[in-house]
Subunit: 473 residues, 4 copies
């Protein structure tokens, strides 16, 4: 799910990255609840958990996932997959909400310190941290894409003993960066799926494409991979998320509907300072413009064609108490389940911002910080996911027709596939959580990773093996 | 002083005008406190009071003073003055805030019913209700202008027995119209001054010009007479007001300073209605634009170069509870003692209105409903007024350097004279009041009219007679 | 459907009511499209149209339906029904949004002039204009209530030749009052249903109750009839509306869902006036409080548990341009399909209003002008309506599961019946419209009345006749 | 003059303080324009400049002036004066706007590193940085207080070669702290005055009291020294400022009038966060409350009794784009020349803040960050200053009756002296400036220090020597 947190403060952080060694799978404390999967071997599960914990510890924010993506590249290449990464799969001019160069540099250098392959890292740096792995089967068949997101969020991680990553020593080593939305688990499942699929490659009819996407948080990354064409020839798209509307291990939501379309805007107002006592009339009050904008953005009318959301999540402005504020900024998001209503919100928001600026004689700039359309899972593909889940002993509950209630830029990929005649599903993997997504104490039960991986395998098998095999499910 | 009241409701009023006969001077009940003026004869005073009461009873609002102006024309012509009126002295395209045609027609017809001369009334109707009388002396000398305003206000008049006009039968005969600012007194003094000056015409060196101005309320009329050129060759300008900052009979303010400049704007917003439940997004909310404008107008910054005032005095909008409001209107005034600050207010107000409209996607229209600049009396001319007042036995207090604290479009005339090298004064005539200006119980002590007339005569004599005479003051 | 229009201006209207004779059924011009109903005779239809046209011409607004209700009383009594009316069926202290006494008096007197029975009218006057007719069958059975609303709206009616009521001479005879929501048709169908049911009274098992409700517009009347207990022992409730989401003759919506709950509030702010130039600090600006409230009411957050609506439909304040406004009023409505969300809106609105008043140091008063809960038709009863409709040759389309998208205080009656274990349906009768509801050119096709009446009869028959008969449907 | 700048970022700064040696007077580059004062010796002037440059380099912000005040203590004690400092002259509970403990500690430790006497520094630390020096003459006479402020501002200093302190190596050594209001010069003049007065101590009749005040910026320090009683027995109070409304060397303003009273408020709003898409209704939006407050604070009405100023100089709130903001803060200042109007502003501001919080269901806290009353110089004492200035050859212009247009908490001291029957003056010392006060390039001409010191001496002599001496001026 997507949120943009407060600005990272790299200067405070830069010196604090410890000498971090990569976590080895053999060091993973075994989770008591872990049950053998009929398809995945325990060995794979051990690697799954080790991968997840390493990624959790590294915790790179959006567009900065240089170590994470390098690790994915190395793993897929090691398995013999065709792998593309960097500018090949991330279109430069479609990237949204890039962080400051200083942040990009910091995480690139950190990735090298952590042992990333310099050549790969060089191609990933500066916001090209997407990877696409391809495994072609031995017979013709459909192209099936699985998508996993890679990025952590800005935000501190709990150091409480009740927070497992802290207790067991794999909490984020980077101040103010935390995998608090489970993407570490998503990426680890992607790697586990790759290992599994490799084993039965000769039975695959068609092509498997694993898409590792940067910068889901803030809805910034999907569009650049779509623009690079990586979804263009995909027949079926499968995405998944941990713990959304499903809080029990063994619970599966077979396909979300109503992933909300969302637009994230950064707005800056620039006016003119002036001494607030001597010559207030010479000022042009950018802060007042922002306050007026905030109020009127919240007052954008409801829409008869779909529920909507508006939030001015952050606003700041002004230089000193006795100066007419010459600058102000606000961070806005708009959402709707309806494309038409989202378009309405965008137009109304622009009107409000422009009017507020004009009203106070200030200039303004609106930057698109993130965007994703709305989407819903195709019912038939969701039924296939549901069937696969029902077949698993570790799954006790399968729910369909559940509203996502949030946004995810997987929707951009779903929409692309659907618009070209394919089908798409975004399903949910239940897990108990340490706290809600984006909370410092967010954590999930690692058994859900094992369940999720098995379900992904089963879905792949249903879609990629000739019919007789499917019957054995 | 200037205010615009609620819209008159002529339709309710039309049938109620009684068959009104002109008040005859002989019927005036004598005011016990009335003292003989050394210059004016009691006979004149009797006429002064009769005139005032007749005008009070007639009570015509701005641009509708057809009977009042007709009476002035007849009186001045009867005295042998050169008289100009109508479009000759009121420039059509400089008139501000004309009432609806229906109202203009109503008062024209009423004036005819009341006995106005049809030919004169024909030239005055439709908002040309200014009159200029001219008396040339026998020797060369300066041109001295005296200005009197003619209009009543919208607003009901008290019918209480404690309200003298009600008790004594000369209250307004026109519903919702009331001489509640003393202009009836001003005009009556103007006629009395004309009678007096006529008597010593042969001793006058120079020219006297009496300007009877319509529509002072709302600051609507002065500009049209200035634009017609009636002030262009004036050397000294004298205006006066009853009861402003001076509440005792026998008190004189020799010359106000800081008559506030003011701009009156009528703003209309037009949006699009829509069903508030079914399709709110189709509406463009004119009322919300007006509310935003009102708040931000009040938040126009203070000015380091002069005290300012902003007021949104009235606002209304919307058609029904369940419709997105498609129309809204507001009435605004801006004031400052400083020309620069008033200009700043105008620009800021336009920015706010335009921005509020843009913000909510509605159109807007701004109409100038009234305007007058700021002005202050020239000190030397105020000293002459003060000296004249000091010489009167009925005057016990003379104050100078008093701030007017309100607006009056006499300022437009003052400014024109001052800009062309002349001098101007706006002085105050003290009076006990029944209630503050613009109140239903507003009334003044008629003795102040007698004192005011004598002071006007003395000022005229000081300015218009050769020096030896002036020494006798 | 419900709306509150601008205040009527009775004083302008009072003199204009023509000497109106009751329309006789024999004078009705026959509608070409009228088809014989298998159940209703043409004779009944002629009366139906005559009744509708008479009510259209009379056009009494909410709580003022003295003539209309008198006519209903007379008709039902004439048919031999048990009839109750006035305070017996309208609980005084549960009435919302009563008009001014002046308006109540005007319409009472007008009803007498139009020939209403004085005794009946006396019991109905002053806002007790509800009627309940009761027909008991010859066998035991359920109690079935049919509800019809009686009131017209404030608002002018088109006089265009294209507007049938104008062309054919049955347009409203009361200025600013217009049956622009079809309640004239609803009431006429109620009378037609009464006539029809009377004919097969001896075959009825159970009790029919016809509820003629005042003041639906503004959601003001239902609550008072519910509070009087008229729904308390009802097993099935049937309501209907013309032309909502169904614009073809022969189209039926078998039962609306999501009739929006709604609260209508009138808010008054009272502050302190002051001269805007001399002493603005002494004012307490009620208009500014209202503007702030309006803006922040529109900014009440969306609700995750149900779509919501907020509208400040009308606002006005201020006395004159140069006075700090001491009074302001606004008319607000809140809506939601969710009871919880509607409760949230109410609490949030009160917070906003109270905060806005506190902010500007003014007092406030909130009056409940109307209220109705949300409701949805019971599916099984809607299916019965659908089945009845499907059986009619004149019905070509039956739709179910249609959102009402507006509010109707029939919901209060539905909820009461449902809360006590009964079932309720609110169905739609399609009609081409002259223009949308509440428009000056609103009109419907009178054939829809005939279809609607037949459907009501069939529903009654299904619910009130012993099973064997029902099988013949 | 007073301003509060952006928060210091001590953590970024802490490591950057260089090993700074105290500037020695002998190293001062002689200013070509420096002219010998008839009273001060050049030697004194050399020390004056050296002191100013050292204080400029040290640049301690309000309540942190440990090194600066230590230096003053040492200098006065070295001259044999009675000296009090710390809690003795700064009342703890009357201090406003103390910085965070971290900042207090940082500057205390830095002062020790810079060589401050540990015992003195210990008494000054933690916000007790006031000093009062007392010199009693040999004859009885009045008590005359001179006041000098000590604090620098937060804000960066220019490093341009055109900025003399940068070019000549005495720019601030503390990042984000800059003597950009001339208080370094004020304090240096105070020390020079002490040296001069010491020399003619035996001719003094009465007592001289030099008050070195912390934390003038933000109007935070004066009140605590007044509350400690240091002004209670003062007969004449003299304060001065460099470069305010006087931009030429040799120009003196003999006594400002209308130092604006001011109140500085820090306002915090606390609400409830909630997911902006899933459950916005559970949030209580602190940022929206702050925005509404900001807008309505700016709309506090003008006051008829005195010009006013309102500024919301800084505002920030919110945690992330997709969360309902749970916190927001704003920094506000109110000003007026009128005590009554300032009181009105305070009450109105509290109403607005409370109303805005109530409106959005959030709590709030208002902290007084600074406050000073308005004051004007006594005319007779200003005339004495003017006479003293006129007698100086280096003074070419003396102006009186100049409005200060800003605020200075010297007003608190003036008011205390005036309220107890004494007289007070606040005069201006002209100087060309590098840029306006509080600008990174602010600097003044050091010759103005020499002129100012001489004028202070002459004022002291006029007030403190028996009359015969005064005649020799």
């Amino acid at each position: 799910m997507s949120v943009i947190g407060p600005q990272s403060r790299l200067t405070q952080v830069r010196g604090t990255v410890p000498n971090m060694s990569v976590i080895d799978a053999s060091s993973v404390r075994h989770n008591d609840s872990m049950i053998e999967s009929p398809l995945s071997t325990p060995r794979l599960d051990m690697q799954l958990i080790a991968d997840r914990r390493e990624l959790h510890r590294v915790a790179e924010p959006g567009w900065c996932e240089v170590f994470t993506a390098s690790k994915v590249v190395a793993a897929l290449r090691g398995l013999g997959w065709e792998v593309r990464w960097g500018a090949d799969v991330v279109r430069a001019d479609a990237r949204l909400g890039l962080p400051p160069q200083q942040e990009l540099d910091f995480f690139y250098e950190r990735a090298l310190e952590l042992g990333a392959d310099p050549e790969t890292a060089g191609a990933l740096r500066n916001g090209f941290t997407g990877v696409v792995g391809c495994l072609k089967g031995t017979a013709p068949g459909p192209t099936i894409a699985f998508r996993f997101d890679l990025d952590a969020n800005h935000g501190g991680e709990s150091r409480s003993e009740e927070h497992l990553p802290a207790r067991d020593g794999y909490a984020s080593t980077c101040a103010n960066t935390h995998h608090n939305c489970g993407h570490d688990g998503h990426a680890a499942m992607g790697l586990a799926l790759a290992r599994s699929l490799t084993q039965w490659r000769d039975r695959i009819a068609g092509e498997v494409r694993l898409i590792f996407q940067p910068a889901e948080e803030g809805l910034r990354g999907a569009r650049a991979m779509v623009a690079a064409g990586v979804l263009d020839d995909v027949d079926r798209f499968i995405g998944c998320h941990l713990g959304v509307q499903a809080r029990q291990v063994g619970e599966i939501i077979s396909g979300y509907r109503d992933i909300l379309g969302s637009v994230k805007l950064d707005v800056a107002f620039a006016g003119t300072g002036a001494h607030a006592a001597v010559s207030p009339q010479e000022g042009r009050n950018a802060l007042l413009a922002a306050c007026v904008a905030a109020q009127n953005l919240m007052a954008i009318p409801r829409h008869g064609g779909g529920d909507t959301r508006v939030n001015v999540g952050m606003l700041s402005g002004g230089e000193s108490r006795n100066t007419i504020p010459s600058t102000a900024r606000l961070a806005l998001e708009l959402r709707s389940e309806s494309t038409e209503a989202l378009q309405f919100l965008k137009e109304a928001a622009h009107r409000v911002i422009e009017g507020a600026a004009a009203m106070h004689g200030v200039s303004f700039q609106v930057d698109l910080a993130g965007e994703a359309c709305s989407a819903s899972s195709d019912r038939s593909l969701a039924q296939l996911v549901g069937a696969a889940a029902q077949s698993m002993s570790r799954v006790h509950t399968v729910r369909d027709d559940v509203s996502f209630k949030g946004s995810d830029d997987a929707a951009e990929m779903m929409r692309r596939v659907q618009d070209r005649g394919g089908q798409a599903v975004y399903f949910g993997i239940g897990s108990k959580l340490g706290a809600v997504h984006h909370n410092p104490r967010f954590d999930f039960d690692e058994e859900s990773l094992s369940i999720g991986t098995e379900l992904l395998e089963r879905i792949a098998r249903l879609l990629l093996t000739p019919l007789p095999e499917a019957g054995h499910l």
